[in-house]
Amino acid sequence: MSAVTELLQQTVEGVGAGAVYASLALALVLIHRFTGIVNFAQGELAMLSTYVAWQLMASGMPFWLALPVTLAVSFVGGMLVERVVIRPVEGAPELTLVIVTVGLFIFVNAAAGLIWSFTVKDFPQPFPDGGIDLAGVSVGWSTLGIIGVVAAVMGLLYLLFQHTSVGLVMRAVAANPTSARLSGIRVGRVLMLGWGLAATVGAVSGVLVAPLLFLEPNMMGGVLIYAFAAATLGGFDSPVGAVVGGLLVGIAETLAGAYVDVVGADLKIGVPLVIILVVLLVRPQGLFGRAAVERA
């Protein structure tokens, strides 16, 4: 295998990993955009949704029926979490909200362990095995499938925000909750909607990655760190940025692990942290984000 083919193959591996990070980063960005919260429990909610899908299939439901049911359950679940857990601390300092989401992380993780145990479960792969061969570089169908689904979700979100009245209302709440409330928008409901949507996108992410990572309560823990790096890199308020950021993080991590001897497999986990740090120093709003402007 030539050096070029090898580089391309590594890049494809990176894109495959990056698509996984991008899918969760989308959910993180979504919730941040509407509520200003960085939701540390996003990965765990996605894991919980995946267990719901697994449980439905274990009781005999086919994948393509279990999926929409799971998405609906996740949507309602996300709204409930907002109403029950987040609403009471709405308007509290950011640190309080962060701690509440961290608490939610620990609670959901432990609860999943209690209900489904910590042994790994297999999750059916919706995409066919194997892949296509492009000039010696093999690209798995699952990689292509994940990228396709992530792109579709991104497109749907764009349509929702830019071309529907619900999207307009959501943007109004995000831009200025006080004015939105004064003009008759039920801000609370919109925030619930934001959580519900984020949980649904998270559920898609969980269902996509579970066949690759195997389902267990800590499945999303590692993914979350990379998703944070992706969202920081792309900009916490840009869905396109989250996807591009995810792919870049995946590629950077894989190439650094393969070609930079000092990094190797040992320090691969450090790559996203370096990315987070550099972005925050050089361009805090991220590649695609808009800098917050305040009147002096």
């Binding site: 990176g14 823990g221 590692g222 990379y226 497999a265």
Partner: protein, 425 residues
């Protein structure tokens, strides 16, 4: 100034008071008759009487490693079964189980509780390398036996500063040796790729493997490690596949074991002989990957698999199934961890029965003086041996290959100590 003096005096008084209390407590304990008479004079008899023995175990009943927690059910069922038949030398065993959630600080807390409040005779067992390492200093200082720990790290048997602690299952170095011997015998020119967990467990097994290969024609051509925090090992597997090695040694813990096995099945261009270490060889790891994807995978074991029909009429297996049904009806007899618990408890039974003095010192010496001891749940040909400088009871293993829906044994049991000499620290 004056205030300071007062404070200092108060501090001194408190210290004196504390010392006095501590001395009183210690003396109080001795007064209660914790020392034996006769030939065993002065030895500790805490937790043992003519009628009872109190043992305490620390297991992860909750948390990420809680799958191992069921071992305590196998152990408890064994002791109830023995008590039902009159106990060990007329003593009934009381077995107290505590949960550490696989967290070392919690293990320390529970060890103190077992020793100081429950006043157990011995801590049997602690599970997991991190938890065991966290409590062994304390238990050795207190001179409390910590026999047959449920972890394969090679440090338990080579350390001289902890005479009260011993291993039980084959250590990772011994396991690495049987794979090395197998390759030397069947593929003397093999090129090996290794996937390992970047911690003591992974390095212990990998180090043992490389040492055992020294001087042979077998080469390790690629090594990739992962961290337990990594989401997946698929990138590592892709790198290993490029090495074109003809053997893959898979040194992983369960989730990553499943991922590596699945990745190997997915990379159709690369079909190495896949050796999976015993930590990841349970059905719980292989089943999610799909049995059709793990055919021909090789591993090693030392005890009877309760799911293997070969042992269906084995007397020990029958007793095990019956006892589990009677005393631990919520435990699945087909689960290997329950059989493991049964096997290690019956080893403990033999050590307790072999004590020359019914004291903690007596148990310590008995545990380090096992000579060709047979345990029904272990494979035929696997016996337990220890000595003053050898705290590795089991160093014999047999290879197995995955066929159909279960493992099947092949070859003869290999005594790795005989083949390679003692494991050194």
């Amino acid at each position: 100034m004056r205030k300071k003096t007062v404070l200092r005096a108060a501090a001194a008084a408190t210290a004196a008071l504390l010392t006095a209390t501590a001395c009183a407590t210690q003396r109080g304990q001795e007064d209660k008759g914790t020392a034996a008479d006769g030939a065993c004079k002065g030895q500790q008899t805490t937790g043992i009487t003519d009628k009872t023995i109190k043992l305490g175990g620390i297991y992860p009943l909750s948390g990420p490693a809680s799958a191992y927690g069921t071992i305590s059910k196998g152990v408890a069922a064994y002791f109830k079964y023995v008590n039902d038949k009159g106990g060990i030398d007329g003593r009934t065993v009381e077995f107290v189980v505590r949960d550490d959630g696989y967290q070392p600080p919690k293990a320390v807390e529970e060890a103190r509780r077992l020793v100081e409040r429950e006043k157990v005779f011995a801590v049997f067992q602690t599970l997991g390398t991190p938890s065991t390492a966290a409590v062994w200093d304390y238990l050795n200082q207190q001179k409390v036996p910590q026999p047959f720990v449920a972890t394969g790290a090679s440090v338990w048997g080579t350390d001289e500063a902890h005479p009260w602690t011993t291993g039980w299952q084959p250590n990772y170095v011994a396991e690495a040796r049987i794979y090395a011997k197998y390759l030397k015998d069947t593929k003397p020119k093999a090129k090996v790729a290794v996937l390992y967990q970047n911690d003591d467990f992974g390095k212990d097994l990998l180090g043992g493997f490389q040492e055992a290969l020294a001087g042979s024609g077998i080469k390790v051509v690629a090594k990739e490690s992962y961290e337990v925090t990594d989401p997946s090992v698929s990138a590592q597997m892709a790198s290993l596949a490029r090495s074109k090695a003809d053997v893959l040694l898979n040194i992983t813990t369960p989730k990553f074991g499943s991922q590596a096995l699945a990745a190997d099945a997915k990379i159709t261009k690369w079909n190495p002989l896949h050796i999976v270490n015993s930590v990841s060889s349970s059905a719980a790891v292989l089943k999610p990957v799909g049995f059709k994807n793990v055919q021909g995978v090789v591993s090693a074991t030392y005890f009877k698999d309760p799911a293997d029909p070969q042992w269906a009429s084995d007397p020990e297996m029958k007793a095990y199934r019956q006892a589990l049904g009677k005393f631990a009806s919520d435990a699945d007899p087909a689960n290997q961890f329950n059989a493991y618990g049964w096997a290690v408890a019956s080893t403990m039974h033999q050590a307790l029965a072999a004590m020359k003095c019914p004291t903690r010192e007596g148990l310590r010496d008995a545990v380090r003086n096992l000579k060709d001891v047979k345990v029904g749940m272990l494979l035929p040909g696997v016996t337990l041996n220890t000595g003053p400088d050898d705290a590795f009871p089991i160093e014999t293993m047999q290879l197995m290959r995955f066929k159909g829906e279960r493992w099947s044994l092949f070859g003869e049991p290999v005594d790795t100590r005989k083949e390679f000499g003692p494991v050194t620290g």
